[in-house]
Symmetry: C3
């Protein structure tokens, strides 16, 4: 079954959240609107709503990521769910249990949601294909395939600053080829109707099939940034530096690092985004990362609201019984 | 003090849960009946009851076990208790603190329950002998001695399918010698009045004193399975394979692996159980593990209800004050 | 900014808790009085108060310490806060993210408090200097600098037994030079008006500037313990034993280990304290540690109440909204 099909229940509502690819514009807008409602919870004195009380959410992390796990754990706790963190490297995987047997076991314990992070593309989709009907799966990053909650929090951040998508120019800069973040962003920008999506990077880091993605390819960052409304910098995975794909960090910064003078080519009100953690002086100058156009920390804040929205939409499809109250 | 004595308070109620050996039939039935009440909590929309709100439960795991820890953690959270996971290998044990000093410290923090997993037989009993009067200890598996919550969830599963114990034939297959699970099952089956308990395995994996346990020993699985109502397969600990105790995995499967043709010798309505995680193709064929007679995943589900029952019975002996409400 | 200044808000209330040095006597008394109120929570049937419900507390441990982390986690949960444990060695620190960038990220997730343990003196102060205005920082031990919650729980324990501070003789015995615990105790004892503070240890383990600390230095433990009301033994860090600073453990025990005959030199009603974990037979004889004058386990109990007091005083400065109730 295609991922976009498996994601929806029989009434067309979100059941899993595996990829942005193939979702309807209205679904994305619903997520953004729901997140808007949750965006005030974080700044309230009591940062909790009882929407998912009594639900059990498993963070199933096959690849360690304190940052991403933390945002999902905070989102779940602020929805009053119970959260279990399972680090697979230390789990009974070492006892030779198969992934499917492990899933069957968690299901039998009446867990309601798996938040899955995996180094292999397609892992979350595979899990979603095999879980029981009452369980929702959220993709928290699978290989170089997708990181859809990151994509949605980026759209949320853009909408907050630019209001509309239909008149924007958005540039994504860096290692597009290996980036699950970029892939999810491009799908979302296309669905939301952004007319001018640009990817900027060296030839070795742009997918050959980029033209099919509905983007314009630039190798010259100065040309690519001209008059854009949004600049999205990608994290340079330093482990890629060893191969022949990339020049030195210093050369990379020279060519593709976002500096004040390059940023000056964008529109004066352009915002600068980055999924974090940032490599200062590699893909972005500190003066830009900390500068007035940077919305990098707003992205982190928005990530909690977006994850609360997606968790509550997928898990809370049938109204939560209030017979036990809060 | 004997374990069966230390487990009960002055009014004969369960205070600790260390071993099934020596408990009264009525105590086991009370546990099964209480678990029956909890068995619906897992499938409710709000999977929580406030019975142990404000209680502090420490998972004291000297031996890693994600699966067992998870079931206790879920059971505790669904009873609304606060849970702390202490992995002893990373704790101040490395600072040379003695076990008793560590216990004294947790007691001084007003913890209410220790769930203890330890590689040494008798560890949970030792801890129960030394804790303060208000603290309950649950044995989550000690060496090759006992795994009593597993034993009780197995009895719960059998009762759900067979209603009565007094007319059953139950076969336990595999490494009886090293299995704390088998030991707890045999005690429970005897106490609940099962007239025909069989243990099946190679001579090297059956305790010499098996006859004293109230069981019949079979080395031929085909003879042992004939007309039984319940087949309990044990997990083959692969680390035992290296010694001279066992033939190869393939030979083991040939002799003692549960296959459809061997299972056909049992009663047509026989159920197949396994404590998990299963070794497919070693002690059990996949077609049996996933077949219509398998209740392996029900065991996992029942494990939550049994642990909720035992936790609430041991900790909730004096009625929980409701002056602070839920 | 000096630590004592940064700790207070514009109205003179505790905002951070980094060091006892420089705090007013009244602030310390307020902490002790607040802890007195919390000291009954641990022994209640429902060990929870809703004071910090909906607050998010991050245990930011750069140095592992199961014991200290556990006391903060329990204190936070009994105040109904949500707690996240971040072990920095396994966090994105490995991705090369700077400490400040990490803090910015947690802030953006609307965390309310960092409990910081770090091997470097000044780390908690550095973090407090750089956090957003709404965040409180608690020092859970930084290098050899300070361990102020330990210092306060010790004062709480002394006050419970001795009622007043103005007439006491208090001796601290052991490795004063490297001890953050001793430093915090000395500051607190001075501020609370203890007229006779003695430090006892070999010359190599007493700071050269001890006289400036308002203490009397003794190298002979028998002279130092004479007629004191309180004996505080420090833990001997065994890793210091390898260098030339110390004789063997046996010799150390001979000279500075607290034995019944040495303790007999103190006042008959003297209490014996130790921050734990104790090295039996190194700095303290078992008969003393477990004897009638020992209040070592009371210190552990009091540590929960003190941490609840400090957490609620720093985080709960503006009254908690009750619009969502408990």
């Amino acid at each position: 079954m295609k991922q976009q099909d498996i994601q929806l229940d029989s009434e067309g509502r979100l059941r899993h959240f595996l990829t942005i690819d193939g979702l309807k514009r209205q679904t994305l807008v619903d997520i953004l609107d729901t997140a808007e409602n949750f965006s005030t919870v974080g700044s309230q004195n009591v940062k909790k709503v009882p929407l998912l009380r009594g639900k059990t959410i498993i963070n199933l992390f096959f690849e360690p990521s304190t940052r991403t796990r933390t945002t999902f754990e905070l989102a779940a706790k602020r929805l009053s769910a119970d959260v279990l963190n399972i680090n697979i490297s230390t789990s009974s995987a070492s006892k030779g249990e198969s992934l499917l047997d492990m899933l069957r076991n968690f299901e039998a314990m009446f867990c309601d949601m798996f938040v899955v992070r995996h180094q292999t593309s397609g892992a979350a989709h595979f899990i979603a294909e095999h879980v029981a009907p009452h369980i929702s799966v959220i993709n928290a990053g699978d290989g170089s395939h997708a990181h859809p909650t990151q994509g949605m929090l980026d759209m949320f951040t853009i909408r907050r600053h630019k209001k509309e998508f239909h008149n924007l120019s958005v540039a994504i800069v860096g290692d597009i080829l290996h980036s699950r973040v970029a892939r999810s962003q491009i799908h979302a920008l296309n669905i939301l109707g952004v007319p001018d999506i640009r990817v900027i990077g060296p030839d070795t880091l742009i997918p050959k099939s980029a033209d099919n993605l509905g983007v314009h390819v630039y190798h010259d960052i100065r040309a690519g940034l001209r008059d854009v409304d949004v600049v999205i910098m990608l994290r340079l995975q330093r482990e890629r530096m060893t191969g022949a794909m990339l020049p030195s960090e210093k050369e990379y910064f020279q060519c593709y690092g976002l500096t004040p003078d390059k940023l000056a080519l964008a529109r004066p009100d352009a915002i600068v985004m980055h999924p974090g953690p940032i490599n200062r002086g590699v893909e972005i100058a500190s003066s830009v990362a900390d500068g007035p156009q940077s919305v990098i920390l707003e992205q982190v804040t928005n990530g909690i609201a977006i994850r609360m929205a997606i968790m509550s939409m997928t898990l809370g499809r049938s109204p939560v019984s209030d017979k036990e109250g809060v």
